[in-house]
Symmetry: C2
């Protein structure tokens, strides 16, 4: 058992990462830009090559890796039971969002990875991060809960009655595209106006106010009235979305991560809580909002959590080995 090695692949809109882990913890994590040109198999093939390279640099025979967890940006499609990737930030065909150097419609993510790995679990990144927070972070022991990332975009992983929700194509948790405002002209990458992501994501706040979201939140924290109004409004919308999810799913706890929250959650929290708790007390009373326990490590552990044995998970909960994972660029 202690000679077994597992792999993890993270697929983001701009970056791929691969991690190799042994029983005592993740060994090495390597990252590389997400391929956006070439054959429609380019992305999964590059992910496999990056994982192979991570193995070699870790002194592991790549053929030893049969079990791989994959955490990917969405949305997914399903064809013949196999997951494909239709992310508008990566696939050029029909994308209104970006001028992409490819005409990919559906990346055959699962079929290409299955040619190589026997034991493969693919989930959207919100679902995978939720699995990590339930295993190692702020949501341990919570059966009705959500992980939320407030970053460039907004993503959720949802858990009800102790089971993580997947939905018809594994896309449950796209609540960043929940419509909240009927008057706002804030535009989301998906084409919606006034959805949560349009109203509060780092990318969309940046687009609307002509400076980086980091600058807006930093300025607000220093007391600038305009920036403070903008960020307070964003926190209220965020709280309203958490309320909507509580009313819909009768959740008990939210763990929030992502760069916006990890840098500014402390002063945004009271605004978010006030908005959430001001509605329907029969459902919202006692609902907990906290910062994700894994902080910036949630990404490293998200994909691994999907394929971790319960023995390894138990050991990792006490040793927290992710704090000493080595990092390298691919």
């Amino acid at each position: 058992m202690d000679r077994l090695t597992i792999g993890a692949i993270d697929i983001g809109g701009t970056k791929l990462a691969a991690t190799v882990a042994r029983a005592d913890g993740p060994v090495l994590r390597m990252s590389a830009p997400t391929p956006k040109s070439g054959s429609i198999r380019a992305l999964p093939e590059r992910a496999i090559a990056l994982l192979d390279e991570t193995c070699k640099r870790s002194g592991v025979d790549p053929a030893e890796i049969r079990t791989v967890g994959v955490s990917s940006c969405g949305p997914f499609s399903t064809d013949d039971g196999l997951i494909g990737l239709v992310s508008p930030n990566i696939c050029g065909a029909g994308s209104d969002v970006a001028d992409l150097p490819n005409d990919w419609d559906v990346i055959p993510l699962e079929s290409v990875l299955r040619e190589r790995f026997d034991n493969l679990v693919i989930e959207n990144d919100g679902v995978a991060a939720l699995a990590a927070e339930r295993s190692f972070g702020a949501l341990q022991g919570e059966n009705n809960c959500a992980y939320v990332t407030w970053s460039t975009g907004i993503g959720f992983g949802l858990c009800v009655d102790g089971r993580i929700l997947r939905g018809k194509n594994g896309n449950a948790g796209h609540a960043g595209h929940m419509l909240l405002s009927e008057t706002s002209d804030a535009l989301c990458g998906c084409g919606n106006r006034g959805d949560l992501e349009a109203l509060v994501s780092g990318r969309n706040l940046g687009n609307r106010y002509g400076q980086s979201a980091a600058a807006i939140f930093d300025t607000a924290r220093k007391g600038d009235p305009h920036a403070l109004a903008v960020t307070t409004e964003a926190a209220r919308w965020f709280g309203r979305a958490l309320y909507n999810l509580t009313a819909t799913l009768d959740l008990a706890a939210f763990a929030v991560g992502g760069s916006v929250w990890l840098n500014h959650g402390e002063w945004l929290l009271p605004i978010v809580q006030e908005e959430l708790l001001s509605h329907l007390p029969a459902l919202t009373k006692g609902v907990r909002v906290c910062t994700a326990g894994l902080g910036t490590h949630v990404g490293d552990l998200a994909a691994l959590s999907l394929v971790l044995s319960s023995e390894w998970a138990t050991a990792w909960r006490s040793s927290a080995p992710w704090h000493k994972t080595a990092l390298a660029a691919g």
Copy 2:
């Protein structure tokens, strides 16, 4: 087996109903007003008495009934693992909604019923109706779906990955209280302004426009421009809520019931579909909206579905015995 008899109790804001069923179908359904005064045990005790009376009129010994399904309006609370009822339409303590002749805070629904019945399943009415539609109605074979009632109020039952969602206190599906409009002054019984129920429910449309919802929808169907504008707007809000649930849960199908929809769904459907399908095609493409297959029988079958054996359910699917259930007032 064929001598076994089961019971069902429906608890609504204005009406209780009790049904007795045998292997070949429901025998008799009796209804009576929902008690709103007396001891805090009055409601569950009246429900038991009504079920006893239904037994006697059906020639069944009440002691024979050990298995009972209960479908109740919500919300629920949980105390020591037992479900209590905190519905603002029934409990006087802290209710802003109605002037109620009681000071009940939490009705001890489950504990009183458990004194009498060994095998008891209690769910909120949206969850129970969903169970019925999945067993006998328009959602057979659907693993990612919702039942929606559009009536005096708005309620949902949600199913993801083949499992019906309950949440921390069994209140999943209160998506009628999802906030949709930040500008509307439409007021919901729960105190929210601009939630789905405030915007479209029969009760709230009636309150806002000074005539019954039935009259508004009838007049709209006859072409009155004002009524048509009001109902079209309501249908758009309804479609927007179905979109939000699709984005959140990656659902494939909605079955809609309730008096508003059963009378007007045919001409409201295109408006609802257009709104739902106009967002995020990666998740909404092919999502089905249809009328609940059980129509006005969904209430009769909701509570029964919670405790029906698979043998009985299989037999009932071909015989549809609910069409010949006798009805009586208690």
